[in-house]
Amino acid sequence: MNGDMGAFFSLSILFIVLLAMTALYCILMSRNLIRILIGLELLTKGVTLLIAVAGYVTGRMAVAQTFVITIIVVEVVVIAVAAGIVIGVHRHNHDLDATRLDNLRG
């Protein structure tokens, strides 16, 4: 890895870590279920970028692209099912507060 490529990789890692931190903060501090999903999406964006940067730096962008496509498919399915669960929770509780999801407690 030459110096210019190494600098780009380091800079990308810095921004990916910050994006992941933002997403984790959103997931941990939010109580709204939709916002938690948005945080999950942001975290996935960070992972996507990490794989793409790794593929670019190692010169194996083709394999990295297949991983990115797989991640996107998984992401869509997770969001679709989670959105269905959110709508179901809202119908049942008339609220999206994650702290009030205590119906199964005990």
Binding site: M1, D4, M5, G6, A7, F8, F9, L11, S12, I13, L14, F15, V17, L18, L19, M21, T22, A23, Y25, N32, I34, R35, L37, I38, G39, E41, L42, K45, T48, L49, A52, V53, G55, Y56, T58, G59, M61, A62, V63, A64, Q65, T66, V68, I69, T70, I72, V73, V74, E75, V76, V77, V78, A80, V81, A83, I85, V86, I87, H90, L96
Partner: protein, 170 residues
């Protein structure tokens, strides 16, 4: 091309869009912010030489997922203005620390001198994306199909009402 101005601007814009998505109090704006983040990620993927992944990101993440989010938000909107105002105030107090945390983590990561220029593993040489997808990673496609089917069944089960089952019995 590696460390030019475009890449740096795109990385900064990606983080800025992500922070705005998290910090904004309106859920609809948050969903739009997520779409903007996806568009910026698409541009980055194009820059890095991954056009196929970029097209997937643009059409699926910036398009389809945004539609799913906006539909969910419109179906679950808080009813009164008072509820929304109280929610905004609570959010503001909880998310005020995010910029500070980002500055601290950014400073730590940029000054920690972590060695990232590791040796590249001796994997096969770079191949065409079509070959990689259909030959090298064929099992991933089977997994993707199974995941999509699981998602379809999940959504069908979630939106199935009690009346559907009773009508089937009759």
């Amino acid at each position: 091309m590696t460390l030019d101005m475009t890449n740096m601007v795109l990385l900064m814009a990606l983080l800025a869009a992500g922070v705005w998505t998290v910090m904004t109090s309106d859920l609809l704006r948050s969903a739009i912010g997520l779409a903007v983040t996806s568009v910026i990620l698409t541009l980055l993927l194009f820059q890095l030489g991954g056009p196929m992944a970029a097209v997937f990101e643009l059409s699926v993440c910036a398009g389809l997922i945004t539609v799913v989010f906006i539909s969910t938000i419109s179906l679950t909107k808080p009813k009164t203005v008072e509820v929304r105002q109280a929610y905004k105030l609570r959010r503001l107090t909880r998310f005020a620390f995010l910029p500070l945390i980002l500055i601290l983590v950014g400073y730590y990561v940029s000054t920690s001198h972590v060695r990232l220029d590791q040796k590249v593993l001796p994997l096969p040489a770079s191949v065409d994306v079509r070959y990689a997808l259909w030959a090298l990673r064929r099992l991933d496609l089977v997994g993707q199909i199974l995941i999509i089917l699981a998602g379809i069944f999940g959504v069908v089960v979630l939106f199935k009402t009690k009346n559907d089952g009773e009508e089937e019995k009759k």
